[in-house]
């Protein structure tokens, strides 16, 4: 069972993401955090997330209420506990600036939410590939 942290406030997107993961046949358990502050708590493993297990994948929307998604990304990257957790940004923004910023901090994927259902469903396969194929390769080669 793959544990996935989803930072996303739009229920429509959460639904679409679950559909996509289902289509991709990735057996997973989602922890959904719908605002930036809670996401920060999770990243720092504090408050109610103090003892939550480390996920196998983080799917992060940059546009979340309260605290900015990039801030959450920085906090995740700052925490050694998440050092081997791949992060995929799933953003409604495809602005080059946001992409550049996220990549500077360090993400494994930057996926613009597609304005097309078919495209959207392909995200499941991509995430599956990231967590099932790429990540084990990386951790094994890295040590």
């Amino acid at each position: 069972m793959i544990r996935i942290l989803v930072v996303e406030d739009n229920p429509g997107d959460i639904h679409l993401l679950k559909m996509a993961l289902q289509i991709a046949k990735l057996e997973c358990e989602l922890t959904v955090v719908d605002d930036g502050r809670e996401a920060l708590d999770f990243a720092r493993r504090q408050g109610k997330y103090a003892s939550t297990p480390i996920p196998d994948l983080v799917v992060l929307d940059l546009n979340v209420p309260k605290n900015d998604g990039l801030e959450v990304l920085e906090a995740l990257r700052a925490n050694d506990a998440f050092s081997e957790v791949p992060i995929a940004v799933l953003s409604s923004s495809s602005s080059p600036r946001d992409i550049a910023k996220a990549k500077r901090i360090g993400v494994e994927r930057f996926i613009a939410k597609p304005p097309d259902l078919e495209e959207y469903m392909k995200i499941g396969a991509e995430l599956r590939h990231l967590v099932m194929v790429e990540q084990p390769l990386r951790t094994s080669s890295g040590g």
């Binding site: 679409l16 597609p114 259902l117």
Partner: protein, 757 residues
């Protein structure tokens, strides 16, 4: 050699005494010498006779025995008498018994004479003495004696006489000196008195009588003579003398006056009553060009020709006027002297009559001077004065107490006071009542010789109006270099000040509205960015869930519901495109924060044509371009510029296959890019509108949102360039844009280029 009578008494005395004494002494000496030589000769003869006698007596024995030796001994005794030259003892038969000669000599003995005699011979005195024994002659003594002794004695006496003469002369000389004191000295005061009386004609001089001798008598006689002269006759003489002195003085005075006139700087000429030149001083001669020699006696009018400077008419000579009217001829102005060589010399002149003691005119004197320098100075002064007078600026002068000393027409125009009203009044006359008078400080600075450049002040005119003036103040110096006041040049700048105020207000308003415009522009852009960005989200939801709805309910696909859902999807798609374009447009500004990089427009061109590949292939467009430079910008923006311009050229093509060429030219510090096509062209009335966002000239037959040219314009203008279109319907379009050279990048000079894109 002066004659004896002219020799001073002192010398006469000396000579007389010496002559007397020397004559006496010489006579006495000569007598003594002559007497002595006669007496001595006689004595010598006796003496020699005695000597011969003695010798004869002493040699009787020797003769008796014919003893030559004894006889020689007797003769040797003669050695004591040095003047005995030789002696011989002759026997009876006249042979020599013995002989003596003075040592070192060998004179002959005189021959035996047999007589008892003393003879004078050529060699001296010869003495013969028979030797008698008992009355019988047995031999003879013969002596020869030289006469040197006589000469010796004469020399001795001569020396003695000479010595006496010498001593006597000395005594006589000393005596004569004393005598001079006794005889000549009393004459001296007399001589001095006579000399003084004859020189000074002062006959009151008297000589003091010092002795009762002839000098005393002479002094008395002299004094009496003077007393006689001093009498009634004396006064006449004195008058004569005085007249002589006066004449001398007059001569001196005339010389002095002549010298003065000759050395005076002005030209001076005197004439007689007929106007003929008597005298002209050197300056006059030089100015007129006539020497005195030619002037003398010549009518002055011939040499002194003058004309009026303005009319050039001949002017009557002042001496003529003087001689005719008998009065001083005043200075004539603007007179020019025509010199002999034709040179024209501006002069000042005046004439005056020469009057004698009775007031009768004896002639005229003309004085004139060369005023060329002064005239020149006056002319330049007039010129300066008229420049000052005609200036539009107020040019005024004031003294160190702040009172106006000059006031030109400009000042009258600006301040309203005439020069009569202003001169002599304090400078506070025109100072502004509100602002006060800054003159005290200014006067202090002027006193130090400072110049005060162009400061602005407010002044009050006669009518009370306040005006703005720009003032420059400089110290005024007198001819000795002392600061005596200040000159002020004031320009009325009221209008300029007002205009400047207005301009400043307008500028400020403009800046203000610019700022608020920029702010509202910024707000609008931010709004556009945020709106287009955030609107994408719900739009995406609508699109995706519409699709999901169709998927979830396949049955509705062909019915009305399906059609409605397709409308929704189509609408959201169009809206998404519009929003995407709006976002792209607004992001051009937002992206300015991106670091600019040198981008090669060649690669930009490739990307653009790559993006347009489908359209190019489909239309068969032929695209060519000049070599493209490297610019410093944001790459994505220029890709859209080229893509939009080329894309438009393809989209709005004519019936012909599109031919597109991109040319590059550098001119006047900017690069000029032109995208030339052979498309349908644009009507002139649309050429401005097409750059507005979402402005389209065509309907749905040609797809597009109308943002492309707006993006192009925005990118180009953000780089400091311009974009426009040159076109004619049916003849293609040329889209031209410029970029400043500073935005062009060569390798390594990125820092010099402007950020744009």
């Amino acid at each position: 050699m002066r004659p004896f009578r002219d020799i001073p008494i002192k010398k006469k005395l000396t000579i007389a005494i010496l002559a007397t004494m020397l004559t006496g002494l010489l006579l006495a000496g000569t007598g003594i010498v002559v007497a002595d030589s006669v007496l001595f000769r006689r004595y010598l003869q006796n003496d020699l006779a005695a000597l011969a006698n003695i010798t004869a007596d002493n040699s009787t024995g020797a003769f008796s025995f014919d003893d030559a030796q004894a006889a020689g001994g007797t003769l040797a005794a003669l050695k004591a008498r040095t003047h005995v030259m030789a002696a011989c003892l002759y026997r009876q038969d006249n042979t020599i018994l013995a002989r003596y000669t003075r040592p070192g000599e060998s004179p002959e003995c005189p021959a035996a004479s047999g007589q008892n005699e003393v003879r004078r011979s050529a060699a001296g005195l010869d003495v013969s003495q028979p030797v008698i024994l008992r009355g019988r002659r047995i031999g003879e003594v013969a002596l020869r004696y030289d006469l040197g002794e006589i000469g010796e004695r004469a020399r001795l006496f001569g020396a003695m006489v000479f010595g006496v003469l010498l001593v006597s002369s000395l005594l006589a000389f000393l005596l004569s000196s004393r005598l001079r004191a006794i005889i000549a000295a009393p004459a001296l005061p007399l001589v001095q008195a006579i000399t003084a009386a004859s020189r000074t004609r002062d006959y009151s001089i008297r000589v003091q009588k010092r002795s009762g001798d002839e000098f005393g008598a002479l002094a008395d006689a002299f004094n009496e003579m003077l007393a006689g002269i001093q009498g009634p006759d004396g006064d006449l003489r004195k008058a004569l003398v005085d007249r002589e002195v006066a004449l001398k003085d007059a001569e001196n005075a005339r010389d002095f006056l002549e010298t003065t006139v000759a050395s005076i700087g002005d030209a001076v000429i005197s004439t007689d009553t007929a106007g003929r030149v008597i005298f002209a001083n050197p300056v006059a001669q030089q100015l007129m060009g006539w020497p005195q020699s030619e002037l003398s006696g010549r009518p002055l009018d011939e040499a002194f020709r003058i004309i009026n400077e303005l009319t050039r008419a001949e002017v009557e000579s002042p001496t003529s006027i003087v001689l005719r009217e008998g009065a001083i001829s005043g200075k004539a102005k603007h007179t020019i002297l025509i010199a002999r060589d034709g040179a024209e010399i501006p002069i000042d002149h005046s004439g005056a009559p020469i009057l004698d003691a009775e007031g009768k005119i004896r002639g005229a004197v003309l004085v004139f001077r060369d005023v060329t320098e002064r005239r020149r100075a006056e002319q330049s002064m007039h010129l300066l004065a008229s420049i000052v007078e005609s200036s539009d600026d107020a040019i005024v002068g004031h003294d160190l107490s702040g009172l106006f000393t000059s006031w030109n027409k400009g000042a009258e125009r600006i301040f309203g006071y005439s020069s009569e009203e202003a001169i002599g009044r304090p400078t506070s006359l025109i100072s502004s009542p509100e602002r006060g008078d800054e003159m005290p400080g200014v006067l202090e600075r002027i006193g130090k010789g400072e110049r005060i450049e162009q400061y602005q002040a407010v002044r009050r005119t006669k009518s009370g109006a306040a005006i703005d003036v720009a003032i420059t103040i400089s110290p005024l110096y007198d001819d000795l270099g002392r600061i005596v006041g200040a000159s002020k040049i004031a320009r009325n700048i009221t209008e300029q000040v007002r205009a400047a105020d207005r301009l400043a207000r307008l500028n400020s308003a403009l800046r203000h509205s610019n700022e608020s415009l920029a702010r509202s522009n910024e707000d609008l852009e931010r709004f556009a960015f945020v709106a287009s960005h955030d609107l994408q989200e719900p739009l995406r939801m609508i699109t995706v869930y519409s699709q999901l709805l169709v998927q979830a309910y396949p049955d509705t696909q062909n019915g009305d519901v399906g059609a409605f859902i397709n409308y929704i999807v189509g609408g959201t798609k169009r809206m998404r495109e519009l929003l995407a374009d709006l976002l792209a447009y607004s992001e051009i500004r937002a992206d300015a924060e991106e670091p600019r990089t040198p981008i090669d427009l060649e690669s930009v061109m490739q990307k653009a044509t790559q993006n347009l590949k489908a359209a190019i292939d489909e239309s068969g467009a032929l695209i060519t371009h000049d070599p493209l430079p490297v610019v410093s910008a944001y790459e994505g923006h220029f890709v859209s510029v080229f893509q939009n311009l080329i894309g438009n050229a393809i989209k709005y093509r004519s019936a012909l296959p599109p031919r597109i060429h991109i040319s590059v030219q550098e001119s006047n510090g900017s690069m000029r890019f032109a995208v030339v096509d052979n498309g349908m062209g644009i009507a002139s009335e649309h050429r401005e509108k097409i750059f507005a966002p979402f402005k389209r000239l065509h309907g749905k037959d040609i797809p597009g949102t109308g943002i492309g040219l707006a993006i192009c314009q925005r990118v180009v203008e953000r780089c400091g360039g311009r974009i426009w279109v040159e076109s004619e319907v049916g003849r293609g379009s040329t889209f031209v844009f410029t970029l400043p050279v500073t935005s062009l990048s060569k390798q390594g000079d990125l820092n010099d280029t402007n950020s744009c894109g």
